[in-house]
């Protein structure tokens, strides 16, 4: 891909403090990205609230802002520094959320800042569960039966329709915080209160439980020319039901034959192409250990914790190749 000459200054949003959803590995990705951008001759402005990272060293970016990662502060920085573009996809969910809010509030348009990489429409399509489900259904890719609930009553009704056990997934949260399994109505009522309060949009997805399925992930990269490759795939040692953050992940998969491997690879490439993602993306599948049946669990339209792991395992500098 040729270098963009119309851009001079790029704002990179870092990942902030290290918790699940903003793991230490993002630092690796972010630092790689800053260095790659500088190497190409761009002026790099970095905002990150975490002083304890290599990323905020003065040598990594041209200018470092150690400010809280909130829309107010980032908007202030944008208004002062007037960058030409913003790179949101490498600071984990935090960076992506801030970029999306800046876009929705009109700050990006006001200051004429371009969102580099994946467009805001694509991000929304991947992150909004209802839109994502519609997209998958139109592609013929299997997703779990699920219903959105915005109240306890709706949650109970949804679970009765789908059948227990169900899994609750609050929308737009970090690392799936506030989600969990419910085997009966009592458990559901208890859990959903918490889930609803944690979702910034007050939405919870009630979904059929597939506990015990194999959890397989693919790291995919696509460019403007529609070239898409899988960097690698990964298999979690623990099945669906145990959060990936608590599990050991192995690259490449260990128990998939070529047929299963290619089945999911094709599906991951189909999704990234349909979403028109330009950059890195992480696609998660649940695969039945006793058949070829699979479901798409989630697509992260950004560099994720797994991307950093994949990058180290495969020795391919993912985020460097994105810049």
């Amino acid at each position: 891909m040729p270098k963009r000459k119309d851009i001079k200054t790029v704002l990179v949003i870092g990942s902030g403090p290290i918790v699940i959803g903003q793991a230490a590995e993002f630092d690796y990705a972010g630092t790689q990205a800053c260095l790659a951008l500088k190497e190409e001759g761009y002026r790099v402005i970095l905002v990150n609230s975490n002083p304890a990272t290599i990323m905020t060293d003065t040598s990594i970016a041209d200018k470092v802002y150690m400010e809280p990662l909130t829309i107010e502060y980032v908007a202030k920085i944008i208004r002062y520094e007037r960058p030409d573009a913003i790179l949101p996809g490498i600071g984990g969910q935090t960076g992506l959320n801030i970029a999306m809010q800046l876009y929705k509030k009109g700050v990006l348009q006001e200051c004429q800042v371009e969102l580099l990489g994946t467009s805001s429409e694509s991000i929304e399509k991947a992150e909004d569960r209802e839109k994502f489900k519609t997209l998958c259904e139109s592609l013929g890719e299997p997703v779990l039966e699920s219903i959105i609930a915005t109240s306890i009553e709706e949650g109970v009704e949804a679970a009765n329709k789908i059948g227990y056990p169900v899994v609750l997934r609050p929308a737009f949260t970090l690392g799936g915080t506030g989600g969990g399994f419910a085997d009966n109505e009592e458990e559901l009522k208890e859990l959903i209160k918490h889930s609803l309060s944690l979702s910034p949009v007050g939405q919870v997805l009630v979904e059929k439980s597939i506990k015990g399925y194999k959890e397989i992930e693919y790291e995919v990269i696509r460019d403007k020319n529609d070239t898409a490759i899988t960097v690698c795939n990964m298999e979690n040692l623990d099945p669906v039901g145990i959060h990936t953050g608590d599990s050991i992940v192995v690259a490449p998969s260990q128990t998939l034959t070529n047929k299963e491997y290619q089945l999911l690879r094709d599906s991951a490439l189909k999704i990234i192409r349909a979403l028109k993602i330009e950059g890195g993306c992480n696609v998660q599948f649940a695969l039945d250990p006793h058949s070829f049946k699979y479901y798409l669990i989630e697509v992260n339209p950004r560099v994720s914790r797994s991307s950093a792991l994949a990058s180290k395992a495969s020795r391919i500098p993912n985020s460097k190749s994105l810049c």
Binding site: N225, D226, T227, I229, P252, S253, Q254, T255, L256, T257, N258, K259, Y261, Q262, R265, D266, L269, P289, H290, S291
Partner: protein
């Protein structure tokens, strides 16, 4: 620690100790390496590996066992398998036997515990060579003498090609394809079946007249082992059939088509084998990740004087990956669009073959 019971010795004196699995026998082959991370069953049963011993660069082999549905040939002819770590406790819902049991059943030796990284580097630096897999007690001198005396056979295609023709029918049949078997992979037949083709697989030495009698809508030239220049029968066949039928060639088939048009082939230092070779499609400027398995390649300069146009190129070393002559309705690729194992990015080539056949039938 378990005691070593097998070893491999290379032509240049390199020696590696390991543990035997599969059949307990001695064998001399050409050593090659494959970089695929999945698909050892398809590799073990690929006829193109006749007289070759494959080093798997991926370190864990055997994890998912052997299934009943994923064979690429009925009778495997691979020379042997060299792996870092062999896993004899598979985990997959379809597995019916272990890799070792399959190799034993088919009299193919395997060796594990080998430093495959070092070995692969050696093959990359010094090229592919003869290798012997033998008992640990065999002396190095004896092994080297055996290697020196052994002459690599050139009859690979006649060994793996079917002796009698066979059929693979499909529901909703639309076309008749004759596939010339130089060591055809079964997934090619399945890929054609899936697109409404009745496939008649014929031996490599079938004459043009015999093929014409079958009234095909299109002719397919398969992959296969060895040097394409040794397969004179098929080169002559292409010379007779070109322009008469739509023809599609894969791998050895691609090399044979190029030879029939007057181009030249040459042997690569260590070949391309694996599931991650990027290929540029010159017609639409798109990149495909392809599955490859070949020792020989078509010489680019020699193509200039022929009617063939280059359609695909390997990005890693710029070798020729595909040619076409639109006028003669003939095209071919060096890599494997049927994958198995490997990425399925290039399956559109089968659709292309079908559309050429359709257009030809209309006229």
């Amino acid at each position: 620690m378990k005691e070593f019971n097998k070893k491999i010795v290379l032509e240049n004196g390199e020696e590696y100790y390991g543990y035997g699995f599969g059949a307990n026998k001695e064998a001399i082959c050409e050593i090659v390496f494959n970089t695929s991370m999945v698909g050892y069953q398809e590799i073990v049963s690929d006829p193109s590996y006749t007289y070759q011993m494959v080093v798997m660069t991926y370190p864990l082999i055997g994890n998912y066992g052997i299934t009943d549905d994923d064979y690429e040939t009925k009778q495997p002819t691979i020379g042997g398998m060299i792996v870092r770590e062999y896993n004899d406790h598979p985990s997959n819902f379809r597995y019916t036997k272990t890799l070792s049991e399959y190799l034993e059943e088919n009299n193919i030796p395997g060796i594990s515990g080998i430093d495959t990284r070092k070995l692969t580097r050696s093959i990359r630096e010094k090229g592919s060579r003869k290798v012997i897999i033998t008992d640990i007690k065999t002396s190095k001198q004896k092994a080297l003498k055996q290697l020196q005396e052994y002459v690599m056979p050139t009859d690979a295609v006649s060994k793996v090609s079917c002796k009698k023709r066979w059929y693979s029918r499909t529901a909703n049949q639309k076309y008749n394809i004759v596939a010339v078997d130089c060591g055809i992979k079964l997934n090619i037949v399945r890929s054609l079946n899936k697109r409404g083709c009745n496939v008649t697989v014929v031996p490599y030495n079938t004459t043009a007249k015999q093929i014409e009698e079958l009234k095909p809508d299109g002719v397919f030239l398969s992959n296969g082992p060895g040097n394409p220049e040794d397969v004179t029968e098929v080169i002559k066949l292409v010379k007779k059939l070109k322009g008469k039928y739509p023809i599609f060639g894969i791998c050895l088939g691609h090399q044979i088509i190029s030879l029939a048009y007057g181009a030249k082939t040459y042997k690569l230092k260590f070949g391309h084998r694996g599931g991650n070779h990027p290929v540029l499609n010159l017609e639409n400027d798109k990149i495909e990740i392809t599955s490859q398995n070949h020792s020989y390649a078509v010489d680019e300069n020699s193509l200039k004087k022929t009617k063939l146009k280059v359609t695909h190129k390997n990005i890693l070393d710029n070798t020729i990956e595909g040619v076409e002559c639109k006028e003669d309705k003939i095209f071919s690729v060096q890599y494997h669009p049927e994958s198995s194992p490997g990425p399925q990015d290039s399956s559109y080539l089968f659709d292309k073959f079908i559309s050429i056949i359709e257009e030809n039938n209309r006229n």
